[in-house]
């Protein structure tokens, strides 16, 4: 079957298998920032924004994304500038191996779009679906707070 979706701002019409997951479609289309961690929705490494909300793309049938706007980690830069969450992850040491980073950052972007000034508990709740085995999370939580603080200073509001 054929679906049409927007991936990081570019409209694409693609042939898919009815059973294909969005994760596999995205990687097949060369969007490699979407990571495979478990295939069962437990780790969040494959999280992408679908119509603005973070979803585990390993669980979502590609067919369900017909007509959707999909944003992955590759789609967060604007005019060569990183998203404040990306900058904050770099500054605060929120990235070690970087394999969970795309999903973690996407979840954080989703959280901040719904709740621009989350408490630490709300950050933990918001990112609880993303597993990281390297950082112990402390610096990732700090990074989200840093992104919030910078946002107050006139950062991007997406």
């Amino acid at each position: 079957m054929t679906i049409t979706l927007t991936i990081n701002g570019t409209r694409r019409t693609v042939d898919i298998d009815p059973g294909e997951k969005l994760l596999d479609l995205l990687r097949r289309e060369g969007v490699m920032g979407v990571k495979v961690g478990c295939g069962s929705g437990d780790c969040g490494a494959c999280a992408v924004l679908v119509d603005g909300r973070a979803v585990n793309s390993c669980l979502l049938y590609a067919a369900k994304a017909d007509g959707a706007e999909v944003v992955t980690i590759e789609g967060l830069e604007r005019d060569g500038a990183l998203h404040p969450v990306q900058e904050a992850f770099l500054d605060e040491g929120g990235i070690q191996c970087g394999y969970c980073t795309p999903g973690m950052v996407i979840s954080a972007v989703d959280l901040l779009s719904r709740n621009p000034d989350p408490t630490e508990d709300e950050i933990r709740q918001g990112l609880s679906g993303n597993l990281c085995r390297c950082t112990g999370y402390t610096k990732q939580i700090q990074a989200v707070r840093k992104a919030v603080e910078r946002g107050r200073g006139g950062g991007r509001d997406d």
Partner: protein, 772 residues
């Protein structure tokens, strides 16, 4: 103690040199590279814990459209080897073959299919007919050691096994003084036996390899490994091809923690590529990772301590039995580390005895895992110290103060027990454990909280502590080399075999080079872990990279600096010895400068032309221990047995932290992994030997909601033998949570947990047993 010099780049919270690529999702991991005509491999795992393959028929699978090749024991090299990526010759037995007519755990390799797609490969696996002769499984340490137990490695051609007929992979027995006399002369003796579980590393990226032929027909392995050079050697050995025909590239990798110090897939991918000429991708699913990748060695460790009434230890005895599963990878060395990384901490005991065995079972295969045996040893040791303090009526912190090793002191254990053989004598040259204890006790509120058993409904609070050491690389065995060459804009290429697993070692090594060369980190262009283009390094394990590879980088940078001085000296009209490097320039005694770019242009294009470049190596003479004091406050639910860690303080002496953010990150990650290991993580194994919870849903690693308030304090010392004063920090943190939480639980509810993980069931049962 040597004092810390002023640094300009070292000690700064520099961004990771690979950070931007990772933050933006660049295709930097193994499976992100797409090559045309790539074959996909799936591996058929044994359904039996112990069986002989009587007949295997792959003809139907081979006949399926889209199947390129099928590998079994009938058509692959039979060379015995170890999958453990260690220094050569490896201290692990050669007890594995690519494929064999015997399988020794559920998930052991039976066959592999390479096909046009994963789906076709999976279909083809189903078409392989295998007739097994089932053998009696061996499902525990006791099972393995009993009289008349089935012999798991009954083959004639395996080597390096201590006693194959009795399933004993390795045996260690070292003595210092006379422990019997020590115990006889003690006023108080305590004994503690603790058991640790099967646990897995669970890097978010599973094992993955992409192989292909380069233009010259050589085999390229782009692989998620901690040990590129060992992987090259082991694949060459296994496939029977020359090392010169293999290139191993480690791109960015998605975590490792020890499990990727193992050659698990590269041989299969390599052979498929050599047979078909086509690129080949193998990526384990999460389930396959749980079933067939590596785990931590489950152990039963008994510790007996004897002390005088003054609290000074007279004798320590430690007996360890390690389950090394179906193959002996890391069996001996993990066992030896259980003693060698723990007992020197309490060097006041004049008598010490460490002995133990590593035994085969027909269970999943343990290997290297952050902490590497020390984790299993510190559980009973630090539990026993807590018991001893109570018996003596001494504060647990004070008991540690009376007994821990100090600057200027050594331990006979350093010499007697090394990497599966004798060790290396050393004295401690940096140790801030005293300050770690002080800071940790203050941050947790030890004096106010200890023994108070503050109650809130069913929840009771307690605090516990523990201390520990690790090492920094393997002395007189590890080796690292670094090459630095200069470019005509004053930048430098830093080429290292060292292997950044996500730890940030590329950044650390760049900071060390930048410090010596007087340039910003951005002027150091790091290329790492490519066996064709970077010099040898054993890889990332044993907490070695900063200390060993860092020293090689420092030496290479100093050689390059001297070459630059030789070029600049005539221009600046000064002796080379009077020059120094700063802010991208050579600075003469009068303050006159020559830009680095000009020095390089002069060397490249103008006079006495040559490439400013140097290579240096490091084989460390010793392995200076980092030190750690752990403090935790927990709450125990006396109705359910639930345990919550409320606050965890880790004060660590890692020498100079080359990059404090990265050093803290190593500690935080290790602590959270250790907290999971202490409380929730357990591979449940069925009575047939099957892993019952092979998913991240059923095997619970900590998420953001599960972590306590975490205070990591870097209590820096200056290690005179280390690069820029640094020691290691990669592993030590993971040893802390189990004994610290166990001791805090005891403070809260008066029960000693001796088996991990401390699940509500176990804690409640212990509480009920005490209440009678």
């Amino acid at each position: 103690m040597t004092s810390r010099p002023e640094f300009s780049v070292v000690g700064k919270r520099e961004r990771k040199v690979d950070g931007r690529a990772l933050a933006t999702g660049k295709p930097v991991f193994v499976a992100d590279l797409r090559l045309p005509d790539t074959l996909h491999v799936k591996i058929l795992g044994s359904p039996h814990a112990h069986a002989r393959i009587v007949r295997i028929d792959t003809s139907a699978a081979e006949a399926m459209p889209g199947v390129a090749c099928v590998l079994t024991h009938e058509n692959t090299p039979p060379t015995r080897h170890t999958t453990a990526g260690q220094g050569f010759p490896e201290p692990s037995p050669y007890d594995a073959r690519m494929f064999e007519n015997k399988v020794r755990f559920i998930g052991d390799r039976v066959a592999a299919v390479a096909a046009e797609s994963e789906a076709i490969a999976l279909e083809a696996l189903k078409a392989i007919e295998v007739e097994y002769e089932e053998l009696e499984p061996v499902l525990s340490i006791d099972d393995a050691l009993r009289e008349g137990a089935p012999v798991i490695h009954d083959e004639a051609d395996s080597t390096g096994i201590y006693d194959a007929a009795r399933n004993i992979v390795a045996d260690v027995d070292i003595d210092v003084g006379d422990v019997s006399a020590g115990f006889a002369g003690s006023d108080v003796v305590v004994e503690s036996t603790c058991e640790t579980q099967y646990a897995q590393h669970t890097p978010i990226e599973t094992h993955v390899v992409l192989s292909y032929l380069d233009d010259a027909g050589r085999l390229v392995l782009r692989t998620s490994t901690q040990v590129p050079f060992h992987a090259r050697r082991i694949v060459a050995q296994t496939l029977g091809i020359p090392i010169r025909d293999i290139r191993v590239i480690k791109p960015r990798i998605g975590g490792a923690f020890g499990t990727k110090q193992e050659v698990l897939l590269e041989d299969i991918a390599g052979l498929v590529t050599l047979r078909t000429g086509r690129p080949t991708l193998i990526r384990l699913t999460r389930k396959e990772e749980f079933v067939a990748a590596r785990t931590r060695h489950p152990m039963r460790v008994r510790v007996k301590l004897g002390a005088g009434g003054d609290g000074v230890l007279r004798a320590i005895e430690m007996e360890a039995v390690s389950n090394t599963g179906a193959y002996g990878a890391h069996g001996l060395t993990v066992l030896a580390n259980t003693g060698s990384k723990t007992l020197p901490l309490y060097n006041k005991a004049p008598n010490a005895h460490f002995f133990g065995q590593a035994v085969y079972t027909t269970l999943p295969v343990p290997g290297a895992y952050r902490g590497y045996g020390a984790t299993q040893g510190y559980f009973p040791l630090e539990t026993a110290m807590d018991e001893l303090a109570e018996r003596l009526g001494i504060d647990p912190i004070e008991l540690r103060r009376l007994n821990h090793i100090r600057v200027g002191e050594g331990s006979p254990i350093f010499e007697k027990l090394g990497e599966g053989r004798e060790g290396v004598e050393q004295t401690v040259k940096s140790c801030e454990l005293e300050r770690c204890l002080e800071i940790g006790a203050e941050r947790i509120g030890w004096a106010e909280k200890r023994g108070k058993r503050l109650r809130d409904g069913p929840w009771v609070r307690g605090v516990g502590m523990s201390i520990m050491m690790q090492g920094s690389g393997i002395p007189m065995i590890d080796m690292a080399a670094a090459t630095i060459k200069m470019n005509e804009d004053g930048s430098f290429n830093l080429l290292v075999g060292a292997t950044d697993l996500g730890t940030g070692s590329d950044t650390i090594l760049a900071q060390i080079a930048a410090e010596v060369l007087g340039v910003p980190v951005e002027w150091i262009l790091v290329a790492s872990s490519d066996t064709d283009f970077t010099p040898f390094d054993v890889g990332a394990y044993a907490s070695s990279t900063t200390y060993v590879s860092g020293t090689a980088v420092q030496r290479a940078a100093e050689k390059v600096r001297d070459q630059i001085f030789a070029v600049a000296a005539p221009f600046l009209g000064a002796e080379a010895g009077a020059l120094h490097l700063a802010d991208g320039a050579v600075v003469g005694p009068s303050g006159r400068t020559m830009m680095l770019a000009d020095a390089c242009v002069r060397a490249m294009y103008e006079s006495d032309q040559f490439q400013i470049a140097a290579t240096a190596s490091c084989v460390p003479a010793e392995s200076p221990p980092p030190f750690l004091a752990n403090f935790a406050e927990v709450a125990v639910d006396t109705e359910t047995g639930g345990v919550k860690v409320l606050h965890y303080v880790a004060a660590v002496d890692c020498g100079v932290a080359i990059n404090p953010t990265l050093a803290e990150g190593q500690m935080e990650g290790a602590l959270v992994n250790g907290i999971g290991y202490a409380l929730t993580e357990e591979m449940q194994i069925s009575s047939r030997g099957r892993v019952r919870n092979p998913s991240l849903f059923d095997y619970k690693i900590p998420g953001m909601l599960d972590i306590p308030r975490l205070d990591v304090v870097l209590v820096e010392s200056y290690e005179p033998t280390g690069p820029m004063g640094a020691k290691s920090v990669g592993e030590i943190g993971i040893n802390g949570p189990i004994p610290t939480i166990a001791n805090a639980i005891y403070d809260a509810v008066g029960v000693r947990l001796k088996e991990t993980p401390f699940t509500p069931e176990r804690v409640l049962a212990a509480i009920q047993a005490v209440e009678g």
